[in-house]
Amino acid sequence: MNVHGVKAIYRFEMARWGRTLWQSLVTPVITTSLYFLVFGSAIGSRMSDMAGIPFGSFIVPGLILLSVLTQALMNASFGIFFPKFTGTIYEILSAPLSPIETVTAYVGAAASKAVILALVTLATATLFVDVWVAHPLLMLLFLIAISVGFCLLGFAIGIWARNFEQLQVIPLLVVTPLTFLGGVFYSVNAIGEPWRTVTLLNPILYLVAGYRWTFFGVSDVPLWASVAVMAAAILLPLAAIVWVFRTGYRLKS
């Protein structure tokens, strides 16, 4: 096991984050805080409760996830795409690192950033709205699992992407809308058919609902379904990455 190699990549990726802290931490926290401010403090009091939770509090877990999913994808995909783009990937490919070690380092760093971002956002949320966490340990566990899953997906996208546009397409055109429509702002039970059924087809709904459950102990969907989607969010991209390393797809010629 090449521990020094994994550490080197991990540190490199964290240092890159440190250099762009405004873009990668401060900006998403401020953006999310605007939601807390507008939907929580400003108009939250005029909204009715959702599933028995004050509206301002209800939206916090979903908004944290919105920010985490987007940043996890962006960060993890950029982390592997950029060396491919500049050519410095030659060094990673020629290093005595197994695929598992390479993925652990890149995804571990990206997931660490996502978790830190989530916790900072949560801390910021408490400035604007009432938030409580019913299951703190599970909250952290779910957060880590979801971050790892989306960082793995981001890593796979980073290998797949041939240009910067492709790099942006999935986070911005797929994940952001799915998250917005995934019950961040409303309980799925509060909307009528057929939109309720359509919403239930959105996998991100299960992540948002499960994560919200760790805060308030209530969920729109069964907990096992949330856990199953989380497991799938980790296993599917992982399978894709294993295949990439086996075949060298878009990584090696």
Binding site: H4, R11, G87, A95, P96
Partner: protein
Amino acid sequence: MSEAVIRIEQLRKAYANGVEALKGVDLDIRRGEILALLGPNGAGKTTLINIVCGIVTATGGQVLVDGKNWLEHFRDARTRIGLVPQELTTDAFESVWSTVSFSRGLFGKPRNDQKIEEILKRLTLWDKRKSEMRELSGGMKRRVMIAKALSHEPDILFLDEPTAGVDVELRRDMWDLVRKLRADGTTIILTTHYIEEAEEMADRVGVIRKGELVALGDKKALMAQMGQRTLKVTLDEPVGEVPTGLSEWNLELDEEGHTLCYRFDSHAEHNGIPQLMRKLDELQIGYRDLATHQSSLEDIFVSLVHEERAA
């Protein structure tokens, strides 16, 4: 010296676009030698290096590093190998110090500031250690690439076109460095376009053409084996054209008619020189100097490439 530290067996590579970059190359690289691989662009030199270093997947054949398959034992193999690629690819925002330290860690070595300092000083990069890569000139970046490759103390070093686009001074520095590394026991494989470089540095020379190793040998042996010699006759009086009586020697005029050049095969039983001398006397052509010289690797190289074009 004769022990193969890297053995390349029937190495093949066909790219997805159908280009056959390597057509079954066999090559033994001896411990502690400097091997120069010569070849025109697209001959397969970089592909060969990239397969050994794990950047390109081979279609067939294998590489043995100290007798062990380089994929099954990739950790052993890669820990021992350093690579300086042809392209200057660097992380623009990293400092010299951090990028070189990063490489050391990446290749599994614990942090060792003293070692990094030693390498940076050796490559005259010490003053630039805090500079970001984007602030450096091309020559300086090249030095950093070498420092990165040396950071994990490899005993096999691949230099892919190390002096392409490098000024004369840096080229000389690099040659010195390569010699010092060899003196420390490092095996060095370099590809180059500069014949002068192979001639100056290498113990052995291989020529790659269209994915095949067409010549390989001790530099001197290769030159002797394939080399022609040229006899230069400096005349007392310049001539306008080659005198008619000398046509059977296929002479060429040089230096505005002051010199007659005769190419001959140094291994041929009858090289034609005594007859030529007698004929010059017969025709009463006076000369004041005679010189012969061995053709350079460049001549050999050009003739090999010409052979291929003719084929």
